[in-house]
């Protein structure tokens, strides 16, 4: 146990060190490439899994570097989107855009370097060939794109990514103010059976998929604890997207959750319930364009089913805890002025609990095991004594919450706990600005 905790702490330490080194990169917006014209190349490469392995994968590249998942394509509602796919693989491949209608391919389809035929979902790019897909992004929302060619194998190999269509109004997910957010994050869920990849690496381009058995689970193409590293780390050139979620108390976080693999995942949010306002790129509304998301639901776990996308709003305030998360007068002198909503307009403190101490005394440090992200104090933004070598990986003295698959076996990396489909949401005190 202690060994495991140490390992966890070490991983966390590396994660945090890298994260700190990389601060300055913008984390507020979802990392991706903006359109409406994209050039993607299907390539091979090796991804790093957190059990220390290196796995052959196929992925879409924006240029020379294959990545898993593919580049997040960000476009504006109403734009005509063209995606030109060049195939550097040894097998035919293609692109499909679930949720988009009227996707057309260029007149070259069926000509040199391309293929069409019975049983194909779409026009394919043959090895070294190129196909251009065009559609109009009529509806805002969160979508998926992936290979339409032997998708059981090719999506497993990594040919999958996210497409985000933005409405005209900034910081809204849809054409309705009830979809407004302060920060947005992408959480793209996939799983992997490395045996399939090993067979492909050995030259079997049609491996048996019937014995598929996932032992690796990913968010945005990384296993925990790598999920908590920043975007675009040189150490992980083929997995550029982190998924650590940061927000101040009271800020509205939009989680764009995509179930991009083949299994169901009960994705659980620590800290508070989420309100699911949209499913598969459509606001959950009884009267489109009028009612707002009146069919939204609240839950602490989203049943993420294969191929589906969910837009969920999350907000953490610390309301009604019965004690002041900012501490007592002795610890942290501060004021709370009710702005009429019960909260302080500036600090978002819940004024009913102002200066109330934590109602229990905590055990002595000798009697507890301290988490790597425990600041030493139960209060937000405060620090306290920590045993030597323990805790301390929490520079903001924030509150950490795990967002993860509640099929807990998926919190492992090929038989090694902890890891897998897990990331952290951090409540960062308002004293620390976030990009």
């Amino acid at each position: 146990m202690t060994q495991l905790l140490n390992r966890l702490a070490a991983l966390g330490g590396i994660a945090l060190a890298l994260w700190l080194v990389a601060t300055g990169q913008a984390v507020a917006a979802i990392a991706g490439i903006t359109g409406p014209n994209f050039n993607l190349t299907a390539r091979t490469g090796y991804i790093s899994t957190a059990d220390g392995n290196s796995v052959l994968a196929w992925g879409y590249a924006n240029g020379a570097t294959m990545q898993y998942p593919g580049p997040t394509l960000i476009v504006n509602q109403g734009e005509t989107v063209t995606v030109t796919l060049t195939n550097s693989l040894a097998v035919p491949t293609s692109l499909v855009f679930p949720g988009q209608s009227g996707v057309s391919t260029n007149s070259n389809c069926g000509g040199a370097g391309t293929g069409t035929g019975v049983g194909l979902m779409t026009c394919e790019a043959l090895p070294a060939g190129t196909v251009t897909y065009t559609f109009t992004a009529t509806q805002p929302g969160t979508y998926l794109y992936h290979s339409g060619t032997k998708p059981a194998l090719q999506v497993e190999m990594g040919l999958v990514g996210a497409l985000i269509v933005r409405p005209p109004v900034a910081n809204q997910a849809y054409d309705h103010p009830d979809s407004a957010y302060d920060r947005e994050y992408l959480l793209l869920l996939t799983e992997m059976d490395p045996d399939i990849h090993n067979q492909v690496a050995r030259g079997n381009l049609s491996p048996d998929m019937t014995n598929y058995f996932a032992v690796q689970w990913f968010i945005n193409g990384r296993n925990a604890m790598d999920t908590m590293l920043d975007d675009n780390l040189p150490l992980m050139p083929h997995q550029p997207y982190g998924s650590m979620v940061l927000a101040h108390p009271g800020e509205k976080v939009l989680a764009r959750l995509i179930s991009a693999g083949r299994d169901l995942h009960p994705f659980h949010f620590h800290g508070n319930n989420v309100t699911v306002i949209a499913r598969d790129g459509r606001l959950l509304e009884s009267q489109p364009g009028v009612s707002g998301p009146d069919l939204s639901w609240s839950d602490f776990t989203i049943t993420a089913v294969p191929g589906a996308t969910y837009d969920a709003l999350f907000q953490w305030t610390g309301k009604n805890l019965g004690w002041d998360i900012y501490g007592t007068a002795a610890i942290n002198p501060h004021t709370c002025t009710d702005d009429g909503s019960g909260f302080d307009a500036l600090t978002k403190e819940w004024c009913d609990d102002h200066y109330k101490p934590i109602p229990v005394s905590l055990p002595n440090l000798q009697d507890v095991t301290v988490g790597m992200s425990y600041s030493g104090s139960p209060y937000l933004g405060a620090t306290g004594a920590l045993p030597p070598g323990q805790g301390g990986y929490n520079p903001y003295s924030g509150y950490f919450y795990m967002w993860h698959s509640h099929t807990e076996k998926e919190l492992t990396n090929n038989d090694i706990f902890p890891g897998g489909m897990m990331t952290m949401f951090v409540v960062v005190p308002r004293a620390y600005p976030l990009p």
Partner: protein, 422 residues
């Protein structure tokens, strides 16, 4: 020497080793409960006064045994209820002693009322049959709104209690609904081993009377949520928690072998910690013979599975609307369940009323169905109106039919009976 005898020897040795070292036992069991003066989380001693709206509970985190419906005995981790036990005068704290090898499946049910201040003390009594382990434990109040990291039970983000110590969690209970709780330390292992429990909060609206539907003449005084109109009213409720064990994982565990995380499957499925037909046994199941502290072995542990899953409603005396608080804490699988011949109405999920935005004022999103599906960490509130059905015995079972088994024994597992009388 057979292993049972060996383990009988281990127990006192392990207890001694774990708790006799002065500096480790420095804090010992420490129950925090306002108004309670003798550390039993109860106000039963003269002079003790329960403050208004205060709720206390004391539970252990440790190990034990569970008996599958085909007779297989599995080594488990779990919680047990220590509320009401005083320190005593012995050399070993009686509360600690009572928790050792007493883990139950599921964990003691935590039933709360909106408006309460809940003080939950967790004491880590150690896993005495794995003396090589020094695992802390925690309580994750799964779904608690606006949780504070310190009481979220997440070991990475807070403190978790070591063997021989106690940590008191504090929760201001402001939201009604069906939640769950479990240990979050080494979550895959500790949850697969059985540190899983039911937790629900009754709404402030309870005690008021609503006629629903209006004009029907049917009135309710108990509700799942503060619905304002009686739409979540019920007459009798049961909490049914689904789960599963991989027996190989448990056998490797007691064998001190590397744990098979990747190969984890649901070889035994259950409701409230027991598979069919044990689910319909109204009594506590006797403690496993392998448990050296079982009463049959001269110990004090009478059962590792106290909670039945049999659902009974007598319409003549109890009313006709059943509430089933369904939850799933399997670490491996989703389960769909049906109640053959009975209409299900889903009125809540994720500890929120099933209305737009989870708000009482939101649009009604409740629905009638025959099947509900729950992944790990999901809860559903299901109403069953039995008024239109003949009296008799009905079955509630998983429609993932492969899971209707107890290991290799067919026809068992995640199934129970709903007995309706006139």
């Amino acid at each position: 020497m057979n292993t049972l005898k060996l383990r009988k020897l281990w127990v006192p040795l392990a207890v001694a080793a774990a708790f006799a070292v002065p500096q480790m036992a420095r804090a010992g069991i420490y129950v925090q409960c306002p108004g309670d003066t003798d550390g039993d989380a109860k106000w039963d001693t003269p002079g003790e006064v329960q403050p208004p709206d205060t709720h206390c509970m004391h539970i252990s985190g440790g190990d034990g045994y569970s008996v599958m419906a085909d007779g297989k005995q599995l080594y488990t981790f779990g919680f047990s209820d220590l509320t009401g036990i005083k320190r005593g005068t012995g050399s070993i704290d009686a509360r600690l002693d009572a928790g050792i090898l007493a883990a139950t499946q599921p964990a003691p049910t935590i039933e709360l009322k909106e408006g309460e201040q809940f003080y939950l003390t967790l004491s880590n009594v150690g896993m005495v049959l794995r003396p090589d382990l020094f695992d802390p434990h925690s309580v994750h109040f799964h779904g608690f709104p606006n949780a504070a990291a310190i009481f979220d039970g997440l070991p990475e983000a807070s403190i978790v209690i070591n063997m021989g110590g106690s940590l008191t969690y504090f929760y201001n209970i402001v939201e009604p609904g069906t939640f769950i709780y479990h240990c979050h330390v080494e979550a895959t292992e500790h949850m697969e081993m059985g540190m899983l429990g039911q937790l629900f909060v009754k709404p402030a609206q309870d005690g008021q009377t609503f006629e629903y539907p209006l004009g029907s003449g049917k009135t309710y005084t108990q509700f799942v949520y503060n619905d304002g109109d009686g739409a979540t009213g019920y007459d009798k409720s049961y909490a049914l928690q689904f789960g599963s064990f991989d027996h190989v994982f448990h056998e490797e565990h007691i064998g001190v072998q590397p744990l098979p995380f990747a190969n984890l499957i649901s070889s035994y499925t259950f409701i409230n910690g027991r598979g069919y037909p044990d689910t319909v046994n109204p009594a506590a199941l006797p403690s496993a013979a392998d448990n050296p502290r079982a009463t049959d072995n001269g110990g004090t542990v009478a059962t590792g599975q106290p909670l039945s899953a049999l659902v009974e409603i007598d319409r003549a005396s109890e009313g006709s609307t059943l509430l089933l608080r369904l939850s799933n804490l399997s670490v491996a699988d989703f389960f769909s369940v049906t109640a053959l011949g009975l209409p299900m109405r889903v009125v809540g999920q994720g500890a929120r009323i099933l209305r737009g935005g989870g708000e009482v004022t939101g649009k009604d999103l409740s629905y009638n169905t025959n099947v509900v599906t729950l992944g790990g960490g999901e809860t559903h509130d299901v109403l069953i109106d039995t008024s239109g059905v003949p009296a008799g015995t009905y079955f509630l079972y998983t429609t993932n039919l492969n899971f209707l088994s107890n290991g290799a024994e067919d026809y068992g597992g995640l199934m129970t009976e709903i007995v309706i009388t006139n």
